[in-house]
């Protein structure tokens, strides 16, 4: 029965190890695409297994370190779905001469195991292990374009700063243990009000926030993001700008709402500042970018900021809004990077906004998809991006956070400018002989990847009901473990307004 709780992780681990074993046995010149298809299959299986977990009774396994509940299932589905799209986008975008593609897919699968563990772990050390598994595989993937100096620079930068940040996280865990004598989330929540050294707990909160703030690239811990996104191969960016961030947000939610709700009055202002700074800095910096990937890197910082707004609203709606935002964010971001990995090419020979001028004249479908993702990033209604923003700011306003909501929505107005710059460039007339006119036709797998992410973005914008329900169920489980008394009050308060 314990195995059922980690079934998706088990499937992916086995598949990853299998690819690692088979890869060296294949002839050097043989195509590695079948390993890609195999990993797609494994990912579909993991997705199905996660969905099946919804029918399990919520509970912990392996001495209470892993918990399966609606919250973990929500993020499992989110991560598996995102990685699936990223895999599909990568199969044809990663150059065939890269004969270590087997390794590429294995690393993605194993990294996904780490992310999945992060979302279901309820013990801080296991969270840390999951974080490391996922980080290490992304460090390697970022440097996968071995002949490009930029890619290696990205990898090393990411690795150095990343390990520094995980050290903060680990130190935070240690201090939490010092303050409460445990590393289990539920036990921390119970012990925290009676701790004799609250200062330790407050410091721990700060350190953990720094460590995870790095992972979600919230300003001021964002400096790595633009360089790494620019240097890393686009199919990898499609992955690392989405799934690991969602996992880190899940951990943030789990830790802050699960373990530290009793000192909420100490940490919500940190989130307020982090959110405001990330939104403003990300958007202002994105205004000046010429490179499409750098621009999207800054935009992802801004989106992390919007998501953090939900944290300031200490309520069930806040958690649900944050989860839903994570879902919409990954759907549109993985989609736009899938488009970029095709248009820009594996070597990023089309990189600036000017290079993208006139894509509509070459490939209307691809361009339409990209425009749609851009509109969703702006937050135009009938796309996921709109509802995501709507729920986040609605949750913030219900807690009376007018200042933050106004900062956020003015920011979304500023953000519209740089997205539109790219959008209008796409639909402008291309210059004579522009390289954009030589963009190859898209392959079926890429088309499938784009179709999946675009339809997810559209459905989240038109019929968000079922995914929102699941997000709210997840939020409910999380809120109850952290704060049973307040959860009850919340439910009572919500009842008449329905």
């Amino acid at each position: 029965m314990h195995l059922a709780c980690i079934l998706p992780e088990v499937i992916l681990t086995l598949a990853g190890v299998l690819i690692m074993l088979v890869d060296p046995l294949l002839p050097r010149t043989a195509s590695r695409k079948p390993t890609g298809w195999f990993s797609v299959l494994a990912m579909v299986a993991a997705f199905a297994a996660s969905a099946w977990q919804l029918h399990l009774a919520p509970g912990t396994a392996y001495y209470g370190v892993v918990q399966t509940d609606a919250f973990s299932v929500f993020f499992h589905l989110l991560i598996c779905g995102t990685v699936l799209v990223a895999l599909l986008a990568a199969i044809d975008s990663v150059r065939p001469e890269a004969h270590d593609m087997g390794e590429f897919f294995a690393l993605i699968l194993l990294g996904t195991v780490g992310m999945l563990l992060m979302t279901s772990a309820v013990e801080l050390l296991l969270v840390f292990i999951g974080l490391e598994i996922s980080s290490i595989s992304t460090y390697i993937l970022a440097g996968f374009r071995r002949r490009s100096g930029k890619s290696i620079e990205a990898s090393i930068k990411y690795f150095l700063l990343g390990s520094f940040a995980t050290a903060f996280f680990l130190y935070g865990i240690a201090l939490t243990f010092g303050a409460t004598g445990t590393t289990r989330i539920a036990a921390i929540a119970a012990a925290l009000p009676h701790t004799t050294t609250p200062i330790l707990a407050w410091t721990a909160v700060g350190l953990i926030l720094i460590g995870l703030g790095f992972k979600v690239s919230a300003a001021p811990f964002h400096v790595w993001t633009p360089d790494v996104y620019e240097g890393a191969p686009s199919p990898v960016v499609a992955l690392m700008s989405t799934a690991p961030k969602a996992a880190a947000f899940a951990v943030l939610l789990r830790i802050f709402y699960g373990a530290y709700p009793s000192i909420q009055q100490h940490w919500w202002s940190l989130f307020w500042v982090l959110a405001a700074v990330s939104m403003t800095l990300g958007n202002l910096a994105a205004l000046r970018q010429q490179s499409v990937k750098r621009m999207l890197a800054y935009s992802s910082i801004a989106h992390a900021g919007y998501l953090l707004v939900a944290f300031t609203s200490f309520s069930l709606q806040g958690i649900a809004a944050a989860s839903f935002y994570a879902l919409c964010y990954v759907a549109m971001n993985v989609g736009i990077f899938a488009v970029i990995s095709h248009v820009g090419g594996y070597d990023d020979h089309l990189w600036s906004i000017t290079d993208y001028r006139g894509l509509a004249y070459r490939s209307p479908v691809l361009c339409g998809a990209m425009a749609f993702f851009l509109l969703s990033l702006i937050g135009i209604p009938f796309t996921g991006g709109f509802f995501a923003k709507f729920y986040v700011f609605s949750a913030a306003l219900q807690q009376g956070m007018f200042g933050l909501a106004i900062i956020g929505l003015i920011n979304s107005g500023i953000a519209a400018f740089y997205y539109l710059r790219l959008l209008t460039a796409l639909y402008s007339k291309p210059a004579q002989g522009s390289p954009v006119l030589a963009v190859p036709r898209m392959s079926i797998t890429l088309g499938l990847a784009i179709l999946l992410s675009a339809s997810a973005t559209l459905l989240l914008g038109v019929v968000p009901r079922s995914s929102l329900d699941l997000a709210q169920r997840g939020a409910g489980t999380l809120f109850q473990t952290g704060h049973p008394a307040q959860a009850a009050v919340q439910v009572v308060n919500d009842a008449p307004s329905q």
């Binding site: 209604p381 700011f393 909501a405 979304s412 639909y427 709210q472």
Partner: protein
């Protein structure tokens, strides 16, 4: 017929969207895409005609309502309905669509599928704005209406794909989008206290529960609504986008970009939801409206570019509507709504005519024209009729709206009413002078050189319905006013005086009297 009453609004809304999807999939062969779009536009227009045909004039509330829960939490409802205020605006939107298709028939010769499918999407967005009675649904369509417009301006600007058209597209988008962001804060703030987005429920909650919001809070919320709408109209100091958009946008898009969406929203959501707060800004709005009338007309006098001239003329003309709305008199409101209809038709006709001239001579520069009347008499006739309607000649439609709004403006304030009337004279001046320079006098080298083609049958088809309507609306205006009257009647009533907001209002009017 009763059964269709419950679904007709959904059909009106979805038909263009469906048409847009199909248009994007059709092959670009011959005039297939154009014909399909025309068919959809005509069918939608036919459906919109169902509304006035079965409109119940004895009934003041919303009709043809659909009210279903769309999202449970938060409770967003798919709530559509029309009343006297919106019914003719819906028909107007349906009416202008086939004309827009005809006006684009030959001009748009590349990226045809993109153009027509975005054109139809724009149609859905605009209809949605008029039909939605749930604030979130309304907001969704309001924002959606920006997207096809911005893309079409960028793609089909005067010099397609140039930096200027990209810039015009971005300018247009941001001008509306940034105030809309604050407008969304306003909507969410209303929801946070009342727990509903539904227009009808919200209106009732605000009236019955005056202590729900502190007066300053409600005041700020109402301002966020006002600014977002005023930009879209545009009201005088916020008109910066209109000149660029008019001169860059393709004819079919320029026809629908200004006026009706913003003015309708002002009446429905600013005056409708905030009776006290909107009365507090009334004298400011009247002042801005009169300034807009004068400023627009004066700037139009010195324009050499036909489209820019029309842009500033539009600012001036739309300001009559703003003036009428904020007098809060039944005459003013009737006149304002009627003027939205007539201004959309005459302004649209003028844009089509300018497009026809551009197709033949390739310029909007007034100085390069001259003596056109002798070579293209039919074009000149229609142009002069439209021009006369625009400057408010009695018997034509422009007169009714201007008369009603100005007379109620005069009743509210003699000074501003009188100044507004000066604007009528100025508008006659810039229009007549322009017509004189373009159509009469000696033939310019450009006109002399180019072959003279008078109006083609397709252009007749686009222009005559509008010309006929200008006369009919001028003569039989009560037919339209009857429905409008039902819609705006409740808005002009003085709100209950026991309301705390009323205290603010009366203290302010005392101040006004003291001054």
């Amino acid at each position: 017929m009763a059964s269709i009453d419950h679904s007709v609004l959904t059909w009106i809304l979805l038909l263009p969207a469906f048409g847009a999807v199909v248009a994007a999939l059709l092959p670009e062969r011959g005039k297939l895409v154009q014909s399909w779009t025309l068919l959809i536009a005509l069918a939608t227009f036919g459906l919109t005609l169902h509304l006035p045909a079965h409109f119940d004039y004895s009934h003041g509330g919303f009709q043809f309502e659909i009210n279903r829960l769309w999202i449970v939490s938060p409770p967003i409802r798919y709530h559509l309905g029309v009343d006297g205020l919106s019914v003719w605006l819906v028909v107007l939107t349906g009416f202008l669509a086939p004309i827009g298709v005809l006006a684009s028939w030959r001009v748009i010769d590349t990226r045809i599928k993109e153009f027509y499918s975005l054109f139809l999407l724009q149609q859905t967005a605009m209809l949605g704005v008029f039909l939605a009675l749930d604030l979130m649904v309304y907001y969704a369509f309001w924002e959606l209406s920006l997207v096809p417009m911005a893309i079409l301006i960028a793609m089909f600007g005067r010099d397609p794909g140039s930096r200027t058209s990209s810039r015009a597209a971005i300018k247009f988008f941001l001008y509306t989008f940034i105030p809309s962001a604050l407008f969304l804060v306003g909507i969410l703030a209303l929801y946070a206290r009342t727990g509903t987005f539904d227009y009808v429920e919200l209106k009732a909650a605000l009236i019955q529960n005056p202590t729900l919001f502190s007066p300053p809070a409600l005041w700020v919320i109402s301002l966020s609504f006002l600014v977002a709408f005023a930009v879209k109209v545009p009201v005088f100091p916020l008109h910066g986008w209109l000149g660029d958009v008019f001169s860059e946008a393709p004819t079919a898009m320029a026809m629908v970009v200004a006026g009706k969406l913003g003015l309708y929203s002002l009446i429905r959501f600013h005056i409708g939801l905030f009776p006290f707060e909107s009365r507090r800004v009334a004298h400011w709005m009247i002042m801005l409206a009169v300034l807009g009338i004068l400023y627009g007309a004066l700037v139009a006098l010195v324009q050499n570019d036909l489209k820019r001239l029309l842009a500033f003329g539009t600012v001036s003309s739309l300001s009559f509507c703003t003036l009428g709305i904020y007098t809060f008199a039944i005459n003013g409101l009737d006149g304002a709504v009627f003027h939205i209809l007539s201004e959309s038709i005459t302004g649209g006709a003028l844009l089509v005519l300018l497009g026809v001239m551009y197709e033949r001579y390739g310029t909007y520069d007034i100085e390069r024209y001259g003596g056109l009347a002798a070579r293209t008499p039919q074009l000149a006739t229609l142009f002069v009729v439209t021009m006369l309607a625009l400057i408010g000649l009695p018997i034509l439609n422009g007169f009714v709206g201007e008369f009603l709004t100005l007379s109620s403006g005069f009743a509210t304030s003699h000074l501003w009413g009188a100044l507004g009337t000066v604007g009528v004279i100025l508008s006659a001046a810039y229009m007549l002078w322009m017509v004189q320079r373009v159509f009469y006098g000696p033939e310019s080298p450009l006109v002399h050189r180019s072959p003279a083609h008078d109006l083609a049958p397709r252009e007749h088809l686009a222009l005559w319905p509008m010309a006929v309507l200008m006369v009919i609306m001028g003569v039989f205006s009560p037919y339209w006013i009857r429905a409008i009257d039902r819609g705006v009647h409740s808005l002009s009533n003085t709100p209950a005086l026991n309301h705390p907001g009323a205290a603010l209002l009366s203290s302010q009017s005392h101040e006004g009297e003291a001054q």
